[in-house]
């Protein structure tokens, strides 16, 4: 073994620090600038320090229904998160066995990551458009009368988001079950546990911290999604879509305030997720083994 750190360590460390600055620097700038005074502009210098732009944002001054979009996005991301966790866990369990079409499901999932988002979005838009036309033309009267569209946040929009979050969910499930010690399940079975008991008391507690990770991906990917939502979201926009539209029209630090709020939500979610992962891990370490405690 070579002793001590090689010289290249310090170069690479410097490079890593520069990379972190590159990642976080711009984010910190808009965080600072969102506290501009009322006369401040989009760039430095800071003209006073105030909550002016947050207040303006809160009152919805000038910006189209941002509060509505915010609330819609929160609920939608939570729904997508829940669906991602449940569907990924079930699919992950299925992939541990053999089933017909296993390879097909896997390739379709990977393809969903690779096909450009705008293509998927366009496809969903076409699908719903043609469906709507069909209902309007051939649907029974009670349905076609007053019918406008089936497109919406929780139909086409949520479908579009799931084609983006589920592949990440499944890949994480693969990583989880690859490391999973199957002897634990066998032991549970040998002791007479039902499949549900095996899952509830053996598998779930072990994979729970990683499931929080799946949920984190589900929420954050949905919370920021633009490309897939762009054509398929229907009439009501989500927050990132409103935000994208604002980049061309808004020329005040209000957009930075909105950025700070959005990033704040992301950080709260990330913080909660990481804290629960650490708590769950600690709980596992504490309760995971009764070795040395004698007969219970």
């Amino acid at each position: 073994m070579r002793e001590g750190r090689p010289g290249s360590f310090y170069w690479l460390l410097a490079f890593f620090c520069a990379f972190l600055l590159f990642l976080y620097g711009p984010m910190i700038t808009i965080f600072v600038l969102s506290f501009q005074g009322p006369e401040g502009g989009l760039t430095f210098p800071l003209r006073g320090l105030s909550l002016h732009w947050f207040e303006k944002l809160w009152n919805g001054g000038g910006i189209v229904d941002i509060k509505g979009a915010f609330v819609r996005s929160v609920f939608m991301s939570l729904t997508v998160m829940a669906a991602t966790v449940v569907l990924s866990v079930l699919a992950g369990l299925a992939f541990r066995k053999r089933f017909r079409g296993q390879a097909l499901v896997f390739y379709v999932t990977v393809a969903s990551l690779i096909v450009p988002s705008i293509v998927t979005s366009l496809g969903i838009a076409l699908q719903f458009r043609l469906f709507d036309d069909f209902i309007k033309t051939y649907g029974p009267e009670w349905l076609s009368e007053g019918y406008t569209t089936a497109m919406g946040l929780y139909t086409s929009g949520m479908g579009a988001h799931l084609t983006w979050t589920l592949p990440f969910g499944l890949l994480i499930m693969f990583a989880i079950f690859n490391r999973f010690d199957t002897r634990l399940e066998e032991a549970a079975r040998d002791l007479g546990a039902t499949p549900w008991q095996t899952f509830r008391f053996v598998i779930l507690p072990i994979i729970l911290p990683s499931l929080v990770g799946v949920g984190l991906f589900g929420f954050t990917l949905s919370w920021d999604e633009i490309a897939r939502s762009s054509q398929s979201i229907g009439e009501k926009n989500t927050l990132p879509l409103e935000l994208q539209a604002l980049t061309t029209t808004v020329t005040t630090p209000e957009i930075y305030a909105l950025g700070t709020v959005t990033t704040g939500v992301s950080f709260v979610v990330i913080g909660v997720a990481l804290a629960s992962i650490l708590t769950l891990r600690a709980r596992q370490a504490r309760k995971g083994s009764d070795a040395g405690k004698g007969l219970v």
Partner: protein
């Protein structure tokens, strides 16, 4: 011992809801894209038909203008150029970061913490991360102010924002993550004894890097490359925001067509984009058999 709960269900029932989502929101929509690309259209409606009109219009004038490039070819050349530059920079940066994490950070906890710190921005909004460059790169931004103060330039640089440079910078900023994590993952699996063996056999640092580490990290490199290339090929948001809506891209053609409610031409362009992306991936699959590496 049979109870009625989802855990006694056969595998196909467990995977059912998952597969259903992809069938309904991915496979069928893709089929519609292909189908509608052959439809005819008027100003306000879709006309079921089998015509090559949308494709012919997309490539209109391409033959006559040779050796000059028509609009669609120019756009693809520009998109592929972005792709190549972004791929090169994300690969160089991502590889270096992953190498540092995997081989120079000794404790696993520290490795995970640093990998996490590199991942957190990925979980925040992309558009926010794009606009966060405005105060830095704008006409009166920090970079221009700094350079003027230092006396390097007299007039503010105009090409920092809303330019090709800004687009590439934003792509690298947003998507280096996709290189770091897979490459780090491949590197973390390399048996450290191999590195020692190379060292004992008299290999220099560069030789070890080139003949041991890079070949073993290839799966991660290929997976990262596929992510970055497919994202950049289909992008219209980053090019739009960072290019000041003035730069064309393969994805943006589709968006523009859709804005004009011209669905068949949009679909035809989507089919062309998909074909180009699949071509690139097939070529990469020649280099490394991705299936074997997963």
């Amino acid at each position: 011992m049979k109870t009625k709960d989802p855990f006694t269900l056969p595998a196909w029932a467990q995977v059912g809801p998952f597969a259903f989502v992809f069938g309904l929101f991915f496979i069928i929509p893709l089929a519609f894209v292909v189908m509608v690309s052959f439809w005819d259209y008027t100003e306000y409606s879709l006309v079921p038909d089998f015509t090559l009109r949308s494709y012919v219009e997309t490539f209109e004038g391409c033959y006559d203008q040779l050796p000059g490039l028509c609009t669609i070819l120019k756009t693809y050349v520009s998109t592929v150029k972005f792709c190549f530059l972004v791929w090169l920079f994300t690969l160089l940066i991502g590889f270096t970061i992953a190498y540092f994490l995997a081989f120079h950070v000794q404790s696993v906890t520290m490795q995970m913490t640093l990998a996490l710190i590199s991942t957190i921005p990925f979980w925040t909004s992309n558009v926010i991360r794009m606009i966060s460059w405005i105060p830095l790169l704008g006409r009166n931004g920090l970079v221009n102010q700094g350079l003027i103060k230092l006396g390097v330039i007299k007039e503010p640089l105009e090409w920092l924002l809303y330019s090709d440079f800004a687009v590439v910078l934003a792509f690298v900023h947003l998507f280096t993550f996709f290189m770091v994590i897979p490459i780090f993952n491949s590197m973390a699996r390399i048996d450290k004894r191999l590195i020692e063996a190379a060292y004992d056999a008299g290999a220099t640092g560069w030789q070890t890097l080139w003949t041991v580490i890079i070949p073993l990290a290839k799966p991660g490199i290929v997976i990262g490359s596929i992510f970055v290339i497919t994202i950049v090929m289909g992008d219209f948001v980053t090019v739009g925001v960072m290019g000041g809506q003035q730069i064309a891209s393969a994805g943006k053609i589709i968006e523009t067509r859709l804005g004009a409610l011209q669905f068949p031409p949009a679909a035809a362009n989507a089919v062309i984009l998909l074909a180009v992306v699949l071509l690139i991936i097939t070529a990469m699959n020649r280099v490394v058999d991705i299936r074997k590496e997963l």
